[in-house]
């Protein structure tokens, strides 16, 4: 008998997850990496249009452990299956190096990790990255969303229902204590009656205290995002996808700031209609473009359902910039109206590089149109979305003091 055996014990096994600390630290580091290339991640199609709790698998390039190593693809020795001959192909070069065990990490090679993050977390990381602390109060309107009362101190007169029993009882005790102190010295012949009277120490009007109330107003909480998209024939899949990414970000951002966020999807070609999310992003349309129809529809919806005095309205329009020449004056007029009714109105022109523009780009027209809460952006590629979105929000921030000094006051 030569060896000592240490039997398996399930409790040891529970404690034996010794790498958990190091794994956690590794995850943390991966998260930092994730933050670094968030722009890549959010332009991945798979994460858009999902619920906040759904889990997203995000591929992250592994953290490398660098060492001095020889380059890949240098001649090497390997085993064959028996009949190797010169000139035979035995595999693909580049990155296919099999790491030998025991010295993992010695050979260069690309590892990808798939991390599970919930969309919620991802959005959190995204906006952490934005680092715009004063955004919160910026486009919010001071709307009295809730009107309630809050207790604040006591008063001597009031109605029975608002009696502060605890304070009242305390006052009585105090008064009795004082009285006893004062009477301690005067110990004259007490009658049976006066003893009984002394024991009974009734409440006095002076003891009563009533709750005082202060009105408590909470401001704002509802927001609506109007997504207006051009679905005319010229909006191809790529353009739609870029638009969709942008709407997704906008929605996530607004959702983070408001307790309740409504989404309205309006698609238009020459006529506009309200559609559901799925149709909005997936249904192909065709035909010409009348941007004004979309704006009119948006205005109608605002009027019907989202009174600007009660709702924070965000409208955003994505188009490739083609519009009927005749429609432009009307469009400009309605855009002005929309600005008056919205916290923020934005226009995004989708121009993937290499695409051909027909007609007059609206962007140029909009350049002449200036309103404090109006912004235009131009998106040319996937990689463009995140920086443009950031710029979009930070541009708003610069203007913010004049717009809502008043809203800031409440915070």
């Amino acid at each position: 008998m030569g060896a000592v055996f240490r039997p398996y014990s399930p409790t040891d096994s529970m404690q034996s997850d010794r790498s958990s600390g190091d794994r956690q630290r590794h995850r943390q580091k991966l998260r930092e990496v994730l933050k670094g290339n968030i722009a890549d991640v959010i332009s991945e199609q798979s994460i858009i249009g999902r619920g906040p709790d759904s889990i997203v698998k995000v591929p992250i390039r592994g953290i490398k452990e660098y060492r001095f190593v020889y380059g890949q693809n240098q001649p090497r020795v390997a085993q064959g299956s028996g009949e190797s001959e010169a000139g035979q192909k035995v595999g693909k070069a580049e990155g296919q190096g099999t790491p030998e065990d025991g010295k993992a990490g010695n050979m260069p090679g690309e590892d990808y990790y798939e991390t599970d993050v919930t969309l919620e977390e991802l959005v959190e990381i995204m906006f952490e990255d934005l680092a715009l602390p004063d955004l919160e109060s910026k486009p919010l309107r001071a709307i009295e969303a809730e009107y309630t009362h809050k207790r604040s101190g006591t008063k001597r007169v009031g109605i029975r229902a608002q009696l502060d029993k605890k304070k009242t009882a305390k006052n009585r005790i105090k008064r009795r204590f004082l009285k006893e102190k004062m009477e301690d010295g005067v110990e004259d012949a007490a009658t049976e009656e006066s003893v009984a009277e002394k024991k009974r120490f009734p409440f006095n009007q002076k003891d009563f205290r009533y709750h005082r109330h202060k009105p408590d107003i909470r401001y704002e909480s509802n927001a609506v995002v109007l997504c207006i998209m051009d679905t005319s024939g010229s909006m191809n899949v790529m353009k739609k996808y870029l638009a969709r990414c942008f709407f997704f970000l906008l929605y996530q951002f607004v959702r983070l700031k408001y307790r309740q966020t409504e989404l309205v999807f309006i698609s238009h070609d020459t006529v506009a209609k309200e559609v559901n999310e799925d149709d909005f992003f997936h249904k192909g349309e065709s035909g010409g473009t009348m941007i004004s129809s979309g704006y009119q529809k948006a205005l109608d919806i605002i009027q019907d359902r989202f009174d600007p005095s009660l709702w924070n309205v965000y409208a955003f329009h994505c188009s490739d910039g083609d519009n009927f020449q005749e429609d432009i004056p009307k469009t400009m007029e309605l855009a002005k109206k929309l600005c008056e009714n919205c916290n923020l109105f934005g226009y995004g022109e989708i121009k993937p590089t290499g695409s051909i523009a027909w007609g007059t780009p609206m962007l140029e027209k909009y350049d002449e149109f200036i309103a404090p809460n109006f912004t235009t952006i131009c998106i040319t590629s996937k990689a463009d979305i995140w920086p443009k979105f950031k710029a979009f929000l930070s541009r708003e921030r610069e203007k913010s003091p004049s717009v809502d000094a008043d809203a800031l006051g409440w915070r």
Binding site: E65, Q79, K89
Partner: protein
């Protein structure tokens, strides 16, 4: 089907194996087996089998990687995990079949014997290693918990130290000369030449290090006065671990071959019940089968040991039926004591074995690996040479410190001993950044790119690369 068994069975089988181990004359440390589940096994693998190991995120990464491979079935968990310590500790997976457990125990005894007797392990202090690792763990944890140091700072040093950990003396058996001895020797050599040597002697006395220094971590530890005590300690710890693991890298093929040779011998002599014996044959062949397109150290190692035996006996032995004759043991024991992968292959890899193993040399041609040389009369030596270059520590470039002054700027000059293989540029750049982090002043690495001299240098402005092409020096370009 698989038999059910309990600890008692294992103990019984182990006793029989141990009897054989003694009969065959293997010289082992006391053996301990730990029964563990697969998560524990993955944990052991992550920390190189050490019962205690300091924390670092890279182990988390390694665990995740192994676990993913295991979960997706890309890679199985090895049957055995054994460490070079006294007593020798090995893990046995509780989910393995009885046959696998017996096989693993026999295999582990092979490694145990190798650890105890092979000369490359002589410096590893197997008696103390577990305690030393524990002490490393405690020290590093205390630095992490120290509010004036903290995890971030410790991590930065460890990241840099890990990058350089194997840039150390390749042969631990060679005694290092002290700085005084180095100077003495250099002057002695200079004096043998004719003519005026006073300038040369002056130069020798000023140059530091006098001889190229391969222990980069130790050199920085001893010669960067701005390092804190705890930073020096971290470098020491990382270096100590690296040289503890170095022999295992150096003896992968010979050691696995040895363990396979002995588990086969022991298993065949145990008179196993038929079902276990059949399973053994299957498992054994899985372990020692060639892996086309790669090198399976179990396969190559066992083939070489078999070849040695064949040469000694003058014939091929039927391992299943005939037991090992006593008279060849001394020869085998001697080889297991004095060889490492490089010398083992150089001495015993012959054309016949190479043909049996079907080794070939492959080169990249238009993004494909194409066989360029096969085991033949003219080419086998070249293949053997390349194999020797790539086994053991051959995959680690030799880079030594040449100068630590760089014309009075206290910059560090590293030189890559180029022998035909270029450094991976991206990795070299990033690793140089780690050297800079530890040294704190300009660091320069001399190597060759496309047969031309190239100098990477890293200082507070970042990385720059100067290369000479056709005797013409291009101005350095700046990489932000």
């Amino acid at each position: 089907m698989a038999r059910s068994y309990d600890l008692k069975d294992l103990e019984r089988w182990e006793a029989r194996i141990f009897e054989k181990v003694q009969e065959y004359g293997l010289n082992c440390y006391p053996q301990e087996f730990e029964i563990c589940d697969h998560i524990q096994m993955l944990g052991m693998m992550t920390y190189h089998g050490m019962p205690s190991h300091y924390p670092h995120w890279s182990f988390g990464k390694s665990f995740e990687r192994t676990k993913t491979m295991y979960d997706y079935g890309v890679q199985g968990i090895p049957y055995e995990m054994v460490i070079n310590s006294n007593p020798c500790i090995a893990g046995l997976m509780r989910d393995n079949s009885l046959c696998l457990q017996i096989l693993t125990m026999a295999h582990v005894y092979g490694h145990n014997d190798f650890f105890k007797n092979n000369f490359t392990f002589a410096h590893t202090q197997a008696d103390l290693i577990v305690a030393r690792f524990k002490s490393h763990t405690d020290r590093i944890r205390s630095y992490v918990e120290d509010p004036s140091i903290g995890q971030q700072a410790v991590e930065e040093i460890l990241d840099a130290a890990h990058a350089l950990s194997f840039q150390c003396q390749k042969n631990q058996a060679i005694k290092r000369r002290s700085p005084e001895e180095q100077i003495e020797k250099a002057i002695e050599k200079e004096l043998k030449t004719e003519g005026d040597v006073s300038d040369a002697i002056k130069e020798i006395e000023q140059r530091f290090p006098t001889e190229p220094e391969e222990n980069i971590l130790l050199f920085i530890r001893d010669n960067n006065p701005r390092l804190n005590e705890w930073e020096r300690d971290l470098l020491t710890i990382v270096h100590e671990e690296a040289i503890y693991f170095q022999p295992q890298m150096e003896t992968k093929i010979i050691n696995e071959g040895w363990a396979c040779y002995w588990h086969r011998e022991i298993m065949n002599s145990l008179e196993l019940p038929t079902d276990i014996h059949m399973e053994f044959l299957v498992r054994h062949n899985q372990v020692v089968r060639p892996i086309p397109g790669d090198i399976n150290p179990y396969n190559v190692g066992l083939a070489l040991w078999d070849r040695i035996e064949e040469v000694e006996l003058g014939e091929v032995r039927n391992h299943n039926a005939d037991r090992q004759p006593k008279d060849i043991r001394d020869k085998l024991f001697e080889i297991r004591e004095v060889d490492r992968d490089t010398s083992f292959i150089r001495r015993f890899m012959d054309l016949e074995t190479m043909m049996k193993l079907d080794l070939f040399e492959a080169e990249v041609e238009h993004s494909d690996w194409v066989i360029s040389k096969t085991a033949s009369d003219e080419q086998w030596k070249a293949i053997r040479h390349l194999l020797i270059q790539s086994v053991g520590l051959g995959s680690i470039p030799v880079i030594s410190i040449i100068d630590s002054d760089l014309n009075g700027t206290r910059g560090l000059l590293l030189r890559h001993s180029y022998e035909g293989r270029e450094l991976e540029a991206k990795y070299a750049e990033k690793t140089l950044e780690h050297v800079y982090r530890l040294w704190g002043r300009k660091v320069v690495l001399e190597t060759k790119l496309k047969e031309n001299m190239a100098r990477y240098s890293f200082d507070d402005t970042g990385l720059s690369l100067t290369a000479e092409f056709f005797d013409e020096t291009f101005p350095p370009y700046f990489i932000p």
